[in-house]
Amino acid sequence: MSTIRVRSPASYWLAVPAAVWMLGVVVVPIVLLVWVSLWSGRAFSPASPLTFDNYAKFFANPTYIKLIGSTVVHTATLMAVTGVLGYCIAYFLVVKVRSPRWRLVLFLAFIVPFWTSTLIRAIAWVPFLGVNGVINQTLMFVGVTQSPIEAFLYSRAGITMAQVSLYTMLAAGPVVYMLNSIPPQLREAAMTLKAAPFTVFRRIIFPLTLPGVVIGQVLVFLNVMSDFATVATIGGNKHALLSNLVMLFYESSQIRGASVVAVMLMLCMLVGVVVALRVVDIRRLGA
């Protein structure tokens, strides 16, 4: 018994507005993209006959194929870096910090930037990475190099550096949650069964946090794949990933091309999520 009756009509009606909103703004538009990507001709018309020509054109261009490859490589790099970094930070905050006050302070320092604009945080990297940027000034002051290194701003390295700072939180968050939900007795039980600390980690703690790792990796994957803003801010026009190609086509009013790339992006993401769910069955482990 509660303030809502199980399977009552009321529960249906309460769900309707949210469901309609999500269907109308998320599901239908994404399905529309697939449809538009199959339009032939040049006019923006729903009467256009359907064809695979747009895809054929996309795959005929080796630059685009390479772009998919480099997007995947870039995303995988970020997943690896943020995954390791995020796990270490989560483990430190939950397991190693004993004082509740310090834990709270460090935790806040870690998550507060999440509540500020990602765009502004990406822009904040610009004065760091430039030829006269803070990093180069520091390197030259310390004497590591005589002349500034141009490899930071407008480079893949710079994009990676900025994105690591933006997305490590996403990789660490679910791990923090999973670590917190492990009863301390499990660790103790393993120790009384003659498991040394590293073995306890390898056999008990890590497997139990694996769903958190996977969820974090999925979040980083989805965000990096579609993050055209950071790439545009730091990479300038010199570097592009798949999502920037969508923007490029869109800004030059090539709706079909943009749709094709968007669908390709969507496919990559679907594959990624499905693979992740294969690696770890989240539902089964959560039980």
Binding site: K96, S117, A262
Partner: protein, 278 residues
């Protein structure tokens, strides 16, 4: 040679991980601080060090700005939009979470539908929605189309927050109210709602903050009147000046202020609720 004592090893691990964590925190915060510092550069200061003196020059520029780089109207739009999103998110996510408790047929699908709103990237949602509006012949505008896409992004976060709150909610309290003769609606208003109020604030904060900072969805669905992130990006494309740093610093402070206020309200609310319990 004897292997290291396990205590020493544990301590070394803690130090290494701690150093890594602190290094990352510095890495994460330094650019934000630098942005803040550089926004106070002198009138002749560039976009990096040296600052050529300190001044409020760039903030004054911001205030006096002309049509081209005037951030005041976008700021007003973004704030109004964020407030509207916040209110809508609160109402819809409480309704949706309450509906989930009713376990209607298909509530599993409903859950995944809302989850999709978090998973689906803004670039796809924004682009697809823009095409849909074009097909329907609806004109794009920050207060209609942008509002619709923003809520589709903020709503799932509010919904998950409310679900988490309801998960820890003690159903017996409602049962007590119902056995004391309250109708379902009265019980919800008098017992349930006050107890879930901290979650409501959390949902509202998600609604405000995510909408205020949203870029990709706005990118495709906002008409000629830009929101703040769009205006910042446009200015960045035109020219990089410390003025952008000033805007960035100001909005970051604004965000942090909003978060602090909400956290404080959340905390006060929880204390009040717990005080009533004990």
């Amino acid at each position: 040679m004897r292997a290291l004592d396990y205590r020493t090893r544990s301590r070394i691990t803690a130090w290494v991980l701690g150093a890594l964590t602190l290094a990352f925190l510095a890495y994460q915060w330094l650019p934000i601080f630098t942005l803040g510092v550089l926004s106070f550069a002198g009138p002749t200061g560039g976009t990096t060090f040296p600052m050529n003196g300190t001044s409020f020059h760039w903030y004054q520029e911001l205030w006096r700005a002309t049509v081209m780089n005037d951030f005041k109207p976008p700021l007003l739009r973004s704030t109004l939009l964020a407030l509207a999103c916040s209110a809508t998110t609160v109402v819809l996510s409480v309704m949706a979470a309450q509906a989930m408790r009713g376990q209607f047929r298909g509530h599993g699908w409903f859950f995944y539908l809302l989850l999709l709103g978090i998973m689906a990237p803004g670039i796809l949602v924004g682009f697809g929605f823009a095409i849909m509006m074009r097909l329907l012949g609806v004109e794009l505008s920050w207060d209609t189309t942008t509002f619709l896409t923003h809520v589709s992004w903020t709503l799932p976060f509010g919904f998950l927050t409310m679900l988490a709150i309801f998960n820890r909610f003690d159903k017996k309290l409602e049962e007590a109210a119902l056995t004391l003769g309250a109708s379902r609606i009265v019980a919800f208003r008098r017992v349930t709602f006050p107890l879930i109020l901290p979650g409501v604030i959390g949902a509202g904060l998600f609604g405000f903050s995510l909408s205020y900072d949203e870029f990709p969805r706005s990118m495709f669905t906002t008409g000629p009147d830009m929101t703040l992130p769009l205006a910042v990006m446009a200015q960045l494309d035109r020219q990089l000046t410390p003025e952008i740093y000033a805007v960035g610093t100001a909005t970051t402070f604004f965000s942090l202020f909003a978060v602090t206020m909400c956290t404080f309200a959340f905390w006060a609310m929880r204390r009040q609720v717990q005080g009533r319990n004990s």
